[in-house]
Amino acid sequence: MLRWAKQLETWHKAGLLSTEQVEQIHRFEASQPRRAWGVWGLLGIGATAVCTGVVSVIAANWENLGDAFKLSAYFAMQGLLGWVLYQRRDRSGPLREVLLTIFALLVSGGIGLIGQIYNLRSDGWQGLLLWLVLTLPVTALAQGKLLPHLWTVGTGTTACLWAASNNSSINEGDRWLLTASLPLAFAALGASNPSQIKLPVRLREAITTWGFFGVCAGGALLANLAFHEGWSSREPAPLLGTAAIAAFGSLAIVASWANRNLGRGVKLGLTALFGFVTLGCTLPFVVSHFPPSEVLGALIFLVIWSATAVTALLLERKRWFDLATIVIAVRFIVIYFEVFGSLAATGLGLIASGGVIIAVGLLWHRAHARFRVWLEAQR
């Protein structure tokens, strides 16, 4: 039985809904179009299997097929798929989304095939970057979630591969900080007013989700490590990377304040989040002889996730809020292992922090209904 149907049964038994009302709701729900997750899942798996098959056929590098034949076959397939997509341009639905995804993944197969035929050397990120550029237009056409999320995750992966490779004139510290600035750039786009900065809806959703996740998770982790390790003595100083983080962090704050759709509380929450991430990821690099400190590292991590929790609460993003509180609780416990050397002190610390977490949990359980009423009143 569906979750809402079970809920209806409970309310019916409690006398809150009449039998007639229950039947009316059932009839209404039956007439609504279903979000067929099972079908979407199968289509996604099918599209992935088709593309993995194509890549495997290419990777086999058949010696009995000439280069010209392999290239012609690839371009014929890509062209045919493009023509089908063009013919179906006014239709929407699962088939169009699957074809778009296969089209985009087939481009990656084409890049691999060309690299193989002409024996091109790559660290991986160059090929991915080319794929990102070539598939951005079809990603913008997507009405489903799969391709935009795939594309957005692809940008992060490409940036990480680039940062990890040694094939660059930019120093390693700068490369990683530039990579860390990418989620801030995405979050700035996500925080901006959709009517001012127009982006395809699904692409905006994917960029916003991964941008905020990257800012919260990656930003907090990087700030924690930078404070903990005291990376101010790194040579050469990663000025380019810190400048990028400062620029995109500031841009994200400006974008959220320029967005009229956001309330004052949300703007303040976002300012705190972006501000702490920016400070946390730049201060240890620009202040000379910054003292490494485990406590400060843990503190900046907790501050960033607290700002995330408050912002999620104000935006009514329950899952984000729950995630933030769990992360804070776990980090709270990890502090004791980091700070205290002895087992006895760690144990006592854990007992104390466990008690605090339980107390906060119980308090929240009792007070959250009143807090929601207060929050509604503030709006």
Partner: protein, 173 residues
């Protein structure tokens, strides 16, 4: 949805990849052909098995200085020959290459190695049983454009094509 938007979106990757292939194909046909000796190199690469990764022997040390890392370098190969393995006559910054340099190859230094983008040769899947490492006496045929960019066109073992070497090395069925 407007027709030209969809048409542009699906044509864009096809046109760009087509132009790339045309450029690579031109590079493969034009330019000077040279033969270079290569030796085994352990790449610790998760994809190894689908290609041979090797160290190109240019005959002279090109990137010994630690300061050279990531710097663009040029190697002068003199007069090209399609049969005799080349030995470089000059290695240094491209701006400093001598006037009579002739054919030169452009690249950069990485971990004291000169990298010109020709250090990989893709092989068919079934070659992997015979070619678990680069064989002795291996050479590559390379086409070098007038701007110094190079492209591998063939892999030779003892002067013979790779396919022939694999056929001879396979145990009798």
């Amino acid at each position: 949805m407007k027709a030209w938007v969809t048409a542009s979106a699906v044509l864009f990757p096809v046109v760009i990849l087509g132009a790339w292939v045309a450029q690579l194909e031109y590079g493969r046909r034009a330019g000077a052909e040279v033969v270079l000796n290569v030796s085994a190199y352990d790449p610790r690469d998760i994809l190894s098995g689908h290609y041979l990764q090797y160290r190109v022997d240019y005959g002279i040390p090109a990137c010994e200085s630690r300061d050279a890392n990531q710097r663009e370098m040029c190697l002068c190969l003199g007069q090209p020959s399609a049969d005799v393995p080349e030995v470089a006559q000059f290695a240094g910054e491209c701006a400093a290459k001598p006037v009579g340099c002739g054919v030169f190859i452009r690249g950069h230094c990485e971990y004291q190695r000169f990298i010109a983008g020709i250090e990989r040769y893709y092989i068919p899947e079934d070659y992997a049983q015979v070619l678990n490492r680069v064989p002795e006496g291996a050479q590559i045929k390379v086409r070098i454009s007038s701007s110094g960019s190079a492209q591998v066109t063939d892999f030779l073992v003892g002067g013979k094509p790779l396919a022939e070497f694999v056929r001879q090395s396979r145990p009798a069925q």
